[in-house]
């Protein structure tokens, strides 16, 4: 199944990599510091997803933008799921019921301004599960820069099958 990001009318384009700003200035809205902060927060959240502190903590939940929509899941759905997972872990004596992953090689690129006034970037990275056999995949998703922070924005699609 393919998924496509929702089309945005391009207002401006700024290519930013994890290595640093490239032909952009801080006035375009995304700094290296923003990127580093997002990567660090998201990576550590994923790594600690089997703990209640991370699941219910503001750090992870605040990584989801208010306009988050991904395959029909809204931010409210995600927050409810994270809180629900925290309760389940407590009941299960600390045994998580979801596959755990780590994030590596994360990069933020292709930040594009939209006619709606949003600044949307692409997050790419490698997800890995190493419970027994190692499974690694490349993934991408969208981020939104708002209120001085990069957050997960999703594919903005409602369909999931």
């Amino acid at each position: 199944m393919t998924s496509a990001f929702k089309f945005f009318a391009v207002v401006g384009f700024c290519a930013i990599t994890g290595l640093g700003l490239n032909a952009c200035s801080s006035s375009d809205g995304v700094t290296q510091g923003d990127i580093d902060a997002f990567k660090a927060s998201y990576s550590s959240s994923l790594a600690g997803l089997s703990t209640q502190a991370v699941l219910t903590g503001s750090a992870l939940q605040d990584l989801f933008d208010a306009k988050f929509l991904d395959s029909g899941f809204s931010r409210a759905d995600i927050v409810a799921a994270l809180n629900g997972e925290a309760s389940a872990i407590q009941s299960a004596g600390g045994y998580s019921s979801v596959p755990q992953v780590t994030l590596a090689n994360a990069s933020v690129t292709d930040c594009v301004g939209t006619t709606q006034g949003d600044l949307i970037c692409t997050l790419s990275g490698t997800l890995s599960n190493q419970d027994a056999d190692v499974t690694s995949v490349q993934f991408t998703t969208q981020l939104r820069m708002a209120d001085g922070k990069l957050r997960l924005y999703g594919d903005q699609l409602t369909a999931f099958n």
């Binding site: 199944m1 992870l60 899941f73 799921a81 979801v98 596959p99 499974t135 690694s136 993934f139 998703t141």
Partner: protein
């Protein structure tokens, strides 16, 4: 059967079960932590087949050689009928030269079939050797070497003696020679019913074990519990007593002389008009006995269970759902499934279901080669899964002979060799160790297995996982699709926390979302079909596909709710008949059938997704990968798979929903009735049913045309919903 008698049996089963101490079996439990699961591999085998020690046509050695050596099975259980036999199956054919099967192995293309001598000199030789010679004529001490109280001439040897003193040694020897787990089982003639595939491994020492083992417990089982064993000698010097501490009330049924359940006039201890349901009681006792003496090394799997029709308390016939529930209640660690994909797939009446031999076959016959109990979505199998029972689906060859063809020929009008057409693929966790018979039995018990016909697929990875809410859904799917694809490439399964595979249950929180991820391999190249002409079933819909190069058309994902264990006291929900023939002969188009009783149904079961070339991802080597999202689960449920080479709405084969149609209609018994699917290719073989000069798809061609696989289920237990228990409480 009166309601009162059925209630007595059901209650008796429940009471004894409640009183027994039952250890939780290692199945239908929450998926273990991934790091605690040893690495494993799917291995193929067969546990139901016949030599000349019952009604087969091959020696044990040649049967094993064909199955393991030629057709390449990884494991093998040699399982003749219980009872007695005059023939010495431990003598190999002479000359015993493994013969590569081929088409038209005769010195005359017009027959005779089977060929008089092949290879030159004959198999078996005309004099002095061969598995068709009698025990009486081949034992050093002649008839005096045959124990028990048989009176036929030549004297038949009871199966218990055959197993204990002669057959076991052959399997142990062959197992060591071929470096594969090969051991003894029995297709027991179950009291009160038809046949059951069973084994007791304890005592046997197949490869990779060393030393000298025995099949004494298996032999004792045969004496004690097979209804065709009417020997009263207590196994001669074995002095067996079939009563046991786990069943004090049933021990009162044990005959004082034979020391097994039975009596004068009913030495079998089976169902009769005088002793209704006695046989079923004895079968339950058999399971409990196995559970007491060998709880880990045993299985008890009803075979071709729809063939003989619905149950009759006054004779030994079929199995209704309540009997399967009773078996499972007695020992879920031992009675954990059925062979609803029977052998005899090349028979005129496929599976030997229906027709003049079996006029009462449930629902008339097989459906895509599978019996009604498993083929019907929402039928008996789904009813059992809907209780959360660990009840698995298996296939086996039931090899006897090849009909009008010789054992070394590739045509068949009756059976396929073990491994040639049907295979049970089972996960065996062995880490870095060797494949072991106990590991195979553990795998069968676990439910991490799938069954195939015609090599339509040869690998499968099937998991249900919780969605990680911190990841985009597409990332979840990509991760899991990669995991199942990697697993198929390695012929293993997925070991990821938060995922469950076949035979396991995923514990999920209410409102969570799930991903079903599947990868399989549709092998490239040719399968074992000897025919390369176009599949006549597909030719009807203008698809040209060589019969020996089948292509998987689609995979159905089927789901049903788990609503909890049915109490034996709730007779309306516990007991009933499905597919009962009311008028006419099973399989005849004019036959009528009784509507299925509610106890045999799970109305929540339905197909929720079909994957095909437009929705799966195809990758190199014939691998197909697919996934499906289920949001907001609230109800405990299960998921299972089936797949086929035939599109929906293939005339005479599948309906619009892709369900298999009755096979029987393809090969009508009455020769005055028209043929169904013409086989018009010039290469269509001479042995096909021919009417007015037109050949029709039948026998082995019909089987090779219509291929299926069935995967065992993955359960999901939603917290706060029904517990997937797998056991009576």
């Amino acid at each position: 059967m009166t309601q009162l008698r059925l209630r007595e049996i059901a209650l008796a089963s429940a009471c004894v079960c409640a009183a027994a101490s039952i250890a939780l079996p290692p199945f239908a439990t929450a998926a273990n932590k991934a790091k605690d699961k040893a690495a494993g591999a799917y291995v193929t085998g067969d546990f139901h087949n016949h030599s000349t020690c019952s009604d087969g046509t091959l020696s044990m050695k040649k049967l094993i050689d064909k199955s393991v050596n030629f057709w390449g099975l990884d494991w093998f259980v040699q399982a003749d009928h219980g009872g007695a036999s005059a023939r010495n199956c431990t003598l190999a054919e002479d000359p015993f030269t493994p013969v590569t099967p081929a088409l038209k192995l005769t010195n005359n293309t017009d027959g005779p079939f089977p060929p008089n001598t092949f290879p030159p000199g004959g198999q078996p030789a005309a004099t002095g050797k061969g598995p068709n010679l009698s025990w009486q004529s081949t034992l050093a001490n002649g008839v005096s070497g045959i124990k028990g109280d048989g009176t036929a001439n030549p004297k038949a040897m009871w199966r218990w003696q055959e197993i204990k003193e002669y057959q076991y040694a052959v399997t142990e020897s062959e197992s060591r020679r071929l470096s594969k787990p090969i051991w003894m089982g029995i297709e027991t003639n179950a009291p009160g019913h038809e046949h059951v595939s069973m084994t007791i491994l304890d005592g046997q020492l197949p490869w990779p074990s060393t030393g000298s083992g025995n099949a004494n417990l298996l032999a004792q089982f045969e004496y004690c519990f097979d209804r065709s064993d009417t020997d009263t000698s207590r196994g001669a010097e074995n002095n067996w007593d079939c009563s046991f501490t786990g069943s004090p009330t049933k021990n009162t049924l044990v005959d004082a002389t034979s020391k097994k359940i039975g009596k004068a006039g009913n030495l079998s201890g089976t169902n009769t008009t005088t002793d209704p349901d006695l046989g079923h009681t004895k079968s339950i006792e058999a399971i409990k006995w196995m559970n007491q003496v060998a709880p880990n090394g045993s299985y008890y799997v009803p075979a071709h269970l729809e063939r003989a029709g619905v149950y009759d308390p006054t004779t030994s016939r079929g199995f209704n759902i309540e009997h399967l529930r009773n078996f499972h209640n007695a020992a879920p660690q031992i009675a954990f499934g059925f062979e609803s994909m029977p052998g005899h797939q090349a028979s005129q009446n496929r599976g030997e279901y229906g027709g003049t031999g079996f006029t009462r076959t449930i629902a008339g016959g097989t459906f895509g080669g599978t019996g009604y109990y498993a083929a019907k979505v929402g039928g008996v199998w789904d009813a059992l899964l809907g209780e959360g029972r660990n009840w698995w689906f298996f296939a086996s060859s039931d090899y006897h002979n090849r009909g009008i063809f010789g054992n070394d020929q590739l045509e068949s009008t009756q059976d396929f060799h073990p491994g040639e057409y049907q295979r049970t693929h089972v996960m065996v966790r062995k880490g870095s160790g060797n494949l072991s018979a106990q590991g195979i039995i553990d795998g069968l018990r676990s439910g991490n297995s799938f069954a195939t016909s015609g090599q339509i697929i040869d690998r499968l990875a099937f998991v249900v996982c919780a969605v990680n809410p911190a990841l985009p859904l597409k990332a979840n799917r990509t991760l899991l699709e990669t995991a199942v694809t990697n697993a198929v490439k390695a012929n293993t399964d997925v070991r990821i926390d938060g995922c469950a595979t076949m035979g396991e249950k995923l514990v999920a929180r209410p409102g969570s979302s799930l991903i079903v991820a599947i990868a399989l391999r549709d092998p490239e190249g040719q399968n074992y079909s000897p025919y390369s002409f176009a599949n006549p079933s597909l030719k009807q819909i203008n698809i040209t596909q060589p019969l020996n190069q089948p292509v998987l058309d689609h995979v159905d994902l089927i789901s049903g709710n788990v609503s909890g264990f049915v109490s034996p006291t709730n007779l309306a929900a516990y007991a009933g008949e499905a597919g009962k023939v009311l008028t006419g002969t099973a399989g005849d188009p004019a036959a009528t059938y009784k509507p299925d009783d509610p106890a045999t149904l799970n109305n929540s079961a339905r197909k929720i997704k079909t994957f095909n070339a437009s929705s799966w991802t195809a990758s190199a080597g014939g691998i197909r990968t697919m996934s499906f999202v289920i949001k907001n689960v609230q109800q405990s449920q299960y998921f299972r798979l089936r797949g086929t080479n035939l599109p929906p709405s293939t005339p005479n084969e599948t309906d619009a929903d892709g369900n298999p149609l009755l096979d029987w209609a393809v090969i009508p018994v009455d020769s005055t009735k028209p043929g169904t699917i013409p086989c018009t290719d010039a290469a269509c073989p001479a042995h096909l049913r021919t009417l007015n000069g037109v050949k029709y798809s039948s026998f082995d061609v019909a089987a090779w045309s219509d291929l299926w696989f069935y995967a065992n289920p993955v359960f999901v237990q939603v917290n706060g919903s029904v517990t997937v228990a797998g056991l009576i409480k």
